[in-house]
Symmetry: C2
Subunit: 305 residues, 2 copies
Amino acid sequence: MSVMYNRVALIGLGLIASSMFWAIKRAGVAGEVTGYARSSGTRDVAREIGLCDRVFDTAADAVEGADLIVLCVPIGAMDATAAEISGTLKPGAVVTDVGSVKRAVITAVGPHVPDGVHFIPGHPLAGTEQSGPRSGFAELFDNRWCLLTPDGAEANEVKKLRTFWEALGSNVDEMDADHHDLVLAVTSHTPHLIAYTMVGVADDLSRVTDTEVVNFSAAGFRDFTRIAASDPTMWRDVFLNNKDATLEILGRFTEELFVLQRAIREGDGDHLHDYFTRTRAIRRGIIEAGQDTDVPNFGRNPVRK
Amino acid sequence: MSVMYNRVALIGLGLIASSMFWAIKRAGVAGEVTGYARSSGTRDVAREIGLCDRVFDTAADAVEGADLIVLCVPIGAMDATAAEISGTLKPGAVVTDVGSVKRAVITAVGPHVPDGVHFIPGHPLAGTEQSGPRSGFAELFDNRWCLLTPDGAEANEVKKLRTFWEALGSNVDEMDADHHDLVLAVTSHTPHLIAYTMVGVADDLSRVTDTEVVNFSAAGFRDFTRIAASDPTMWRDVFLNNKDATLEILGRFTEELFVLQRAIREGDGDHLHDYFTRTRAIRRGIIEAGQDTDVPNFGRNPVRK
């Protein structure tokens, strides 16, 4: 593929930015990739492992002359980061981000984007439970979705950014920022909160030891711990910045949980069986849509064919 | 390994029994394995794929002359199944089971076990989201735990059954039946109920389409759907038969969830960050105990090294 942006600046060098770097290099869609991280330790690691063609000590230096700027910092740091780079942005440049919440990013970043610079918020739905500059890999976005919430940004620039994400392996869709935040409250934010809660409960029980929880986790619990090992700062910011949608879905969740709890208490086996049968169908849909494999047991064991 | 039981009878031929068969053959610890399933369709499949050396049309015929009888039926079918085989059990034989709840199985099966037959309840903590006679594989129990709740059964026979499970790849531990049911409520039953609930909520929302839920599931939700795709009959019976412990842990869970919900509502980022940091430690414990791998993203993507 040919170069799409002469210079791409990655601001923040964690899992998503480092995966973007390797995916950009794999696709050959950028002339040069610059990078910046707030922590000098992260910048040192980036230089050591060749993450970014040039690593700068300030965000402003990293974005100077860049055609595409990708904000890869936690949601809570978006406002300050955007303020820092605002004066250095090149006219005609595109600013995008990878935050898990879109309305809050628009509110934080929008006011700092000068006239003549395009702002197209984005969110690649991809990740692992690992974080930091060493955690990235080029295949992270392959066959995953990237959602853009352009909200009136110039059509040609939106189209170009779509093609860029497709070159990194993604499928791309566009939607309204508020709808994005609701969809993600369902498919990501509430599941994470629930997983964190369940792991916290297990850790707190005095009648069941931590060793028992750990050793006997293969029967379901371990899959919650993987989700609940995600980056604490990122997730704090997600919940603080997608409060309304998360609380709405949490309300639905507890309502539904109480109905199932009553069915257990009253011994209503038909209700439970019907409910558990219905939820199987969604799983099939996810496998058919290529968003998971049907290899059993999470692919952790070899399978006899 | 040498033969430990001349004849092993597997009653019920789903995921666990079929995995036991292949693991028994791999280990060479049984002279012959007989099998029975209530459904003639399942028996046909078993005969077609060579699951069990001989498949019988009644449970009584399958257990006749057997030295080890393994009840692999849903908890709700334990009582009737035990009654069916009671008169055919050979003196000195060992009856065990693989049910996910132990107190209820003891209550259901115990009265049907004649004098001179040993009853040693068991529970291999292994499984996948798939079910049926074709879903088994020999490696299912490798490095997983099998819990026995012998409650006064003869020590020699308990020791022999331990060695049998070890030959199938398991680690083995013993505990009291009620404690087992509490531990499993934490590590398995409540996590499953929560996953089922979250998937049900997502399926029910009118403002988010099923297509959106499916396509955008990679950000956390898909891992809940895997758990929520488990066998509905098995899980109905688990909740009906481990009611007290599940309701106790559910109570703790909702209490904790409400505290986190309030922290979100009040914008208490410190509370959220502390909580999310604490839950990371358990994850590390599980990886160190060999109950999961640290391959990111569930091993679904190749990883750049």
